[in-house]
Symmetry: C2
Subunit: 474 residues, 2 copies
Amino acid sequence: MDHSSLLEDLRNIVGAAHVLTEGDLSAYTRDWRKRAEGTALAVVRPADTEQVAAVVRACSKHGASIVPQGGNTGLAVGAVPDTSGSQVVLSLRRMDKVRALDPANLTITVEAGCILQNLQETAEAAGFLFPLSLAAEGSCTIGGNLGTNAGGTQVVRYGNARELCLGIEVVTAQGEIWNGLTGLRKDNTGYDLRDLFIGSEGTLGVITAATMKLYPLPAARLTAWAAVPSMQAAVDLLGLAHKHLGAGLTGFEVMNQFSLSLVDKHLPQLRVPFWRDYPWCVLVENSDHESEEHARTQFEGLLEAALEAGCVSDAIVAESLAQASTLWHIRESIPMAQAEEGLNIKQDISVPISRIPAFVAETDAALTREIPGVRLVDFGHLGDGNLHYNVQTPEGGDAREFLLKYEDRINALVFDSVAKHEGSISAEHGIGSLKVDKLPSYKSAVALDMMRAIKTALDPQGIMNPGRVLSTQV
Amino acid sequence: MDHSSLLEDLRNIVGAAHVLTEGDLSAYTRDWRKRAEGTALAVVRPADTEQVAAVVRACSKHGASIVPQGGNTGLAVGAVPDTSGSQVVLSLRRMDKVRALDPANLTITVEAGCILQNLQETAEAAGFLFPLSLAAEGSCTIGGNLGTNAGGTQVVRYGNARELCLGIEVVTAQGEIWNGLTGLRKDNTGYDLRDLFIGSEGTLGVITAATMKLYPLPAARLTAWAAVPSMQAAVDLLGLAHKHLGAGLTGFEVMNQFSLSLVDKHLPQLRVPFWRDYPWCVLVENSDHESEEHARTQFEGLLEAALEAGCVSDAIVAESLAQASTLWHIRESIPMAQAEEGLNIKQDISVPISRIPAFVAETDAALTREIPGVRLVDFGHLGDGNLHYNVQTPEGGDAREFLLKYEDRINALVFDSVAKHEGSISAEHGIGSLKVDKLPSYKSAVALDMMRAIKTALDPQGIMNPGRVLSTQV
């Protein structure tokens, strides 16, 4: 590959100022959790879709592979280059415009580099809700959210990024532009290319813009915190919440005692409710299109029924927005408290909700039995069956040595239990390069064959984010 | 192709009684609207997924093409054989079992041949709602619904068949079984094969089973009927309904005066409200998880705001379930009233909701100007932007002659107007063979190229429902 000739082509397309090759490029080349650092031939920052298409055509001509990147906040090491120094990082961050907001159609059309929080705020300023919500929302982009089919905390009501998207604009691996930016809720004119690109982690093409669904802003959002006697009780409470709150149920998070003890230890000012006396706590959010009063009455009905049924031991309903946001803050502080406590292994698994109690009981028992001193940080989005079933290294001792010795064994124990319960080893983070070697053990060979056939059909040169999702060695 | 050897193989797989070659096979070979009649080499009725896989392998070995079929109620002539006499109709009707119902996971797993209404009733008997609802529900199958991504009347709240499906089991074009029957709401482990098969109309493989979402049964369903002064007023009313009813808004249908005049003429016992004095009427459905009283209060708030805003001229709220079902019956009788009135052209188009008033005004004007005596039956699912913008032949005169002379011109006028307004020429019915020649004029060439590449990748022999969705001539 003739690097200097490719660089010249790229400079001609986007301007020399937007082809970065010198200085500290670690914001683009290093995974933010520092699990991988690569070297880019160049970081290219196109200004519009035509430039993206021309960049892809130039890379195709020179046989250079392309790593599309949004906010570089991914959790599966899918958006940083490898160490070859021959890959081009295609950063979509300059393409951050809101192209259109259509109130009567309840849609907003934005470019891929738009920061999620900006999208949320633009929607809210126009009187609408854009419900996708996750920890990285201040720096992740909607293009990255779609590329990885991001989930987050509102999936129980609104679905993943996939379900919030009506249309996309894509630059194909051949450098052609597909304008699939439809705002239609019904369109049965051929294969669902939209959903094929969503979640493909940049391995089939580059999503450059999207038309997303909006919802009316709820009149009130109320948050409750409940102590529950068991995981089964938490599942029972979820069933009651569906019945009592209907579509008002917009969040349902579960946290075990140890995860809350870490928040209490490292962020004592947050005053975690109930955690000392109960094995599990649950956070429930009720979004109401009528009024706060109505939301409160609904919650009272739910909690009364739940206390009666024995699936709630104690509960509070936030009295103010400030208190509600503190409760959410406790839930969202678990990863930070884990980091304060030391090294840990993050999981992102899902199983059918009905099987979660058995999954947790069996997997807890297996890990405790086989891994000396292990500490389990079980928490996550119970409303959609997604647990961040994390493992903290033992108190004291050498955490690095522990991980070296046990990490593979722990992952195997967790993944095998997930497989037994018909779950997924990556619920919302994707495969990236982190789980690409694990996938063949946990995914049907027939499905993998079809994925490979599609990859070859749409990217015959294999230049789009190679080695991610699918291994390059067959 | 050695027909007798293939037939022998098929008899060995499913039993001679389930390989139909003699007698009246028109229930399988004739489109129910009688727009096409083919001849099958055989109609094969497998009992389970393994038999489906073996049938596909046998057809592949002999190079015979396969037409998958559910209830044969499709509207795009996609599920009957051609006239060659060499195609095998693969009827899924015997595979109609409910495999599992998981209350805590809110899912039901059924075989492809399960009749939609049986699925609805099984869900309801267990205390849940399966919301997919459409005119053919008494005879269409869930496999057909998924193959065509069926829509219907509840899409404004629950989405299409695609959005109601979590996992599918598929027999590939190679006769392999892919078990993708997951009940997970989050699973980011590779390309979205599920949504690729959904809506592919049997051209990529055969859907043999599916895991579908369930919802809590609403406590009450209330229906209102409103007269509105214009299509723009109907769109404004929809916006208010989203705000006032939130997720309670489960149906929003619009009907023009002429469509209601036909119901009044041919089914006078239905006593259509308001139609004489207003250009449009709207049917609104509110599903409430609390109570009928609460639903009524919600409706009163909506109608008060709408009368105030001038987007409703008059309105009634059904006082009983019987009255509500009569109102729905009026809406659903429009196609029958059209048939009574004589020949007509059916459309199934969508445009962004914000553009519907301009689309209807412009297209009405163009048709009235260019097609002498034309009568326009505008009605449909305004809540999701899908209109059945049908055209009735003129009163008196020779309807057949009129169609011969004007049908192509009418379709071109409507489709070109749809394209101008960034809409779809097939919102919920699919492409089948009926619109396969039209598609290249209204779909992006880049998208069509990707579709062809995927078809070739997954069905290299081209045996799955050839000539549907994609033309066999390139």
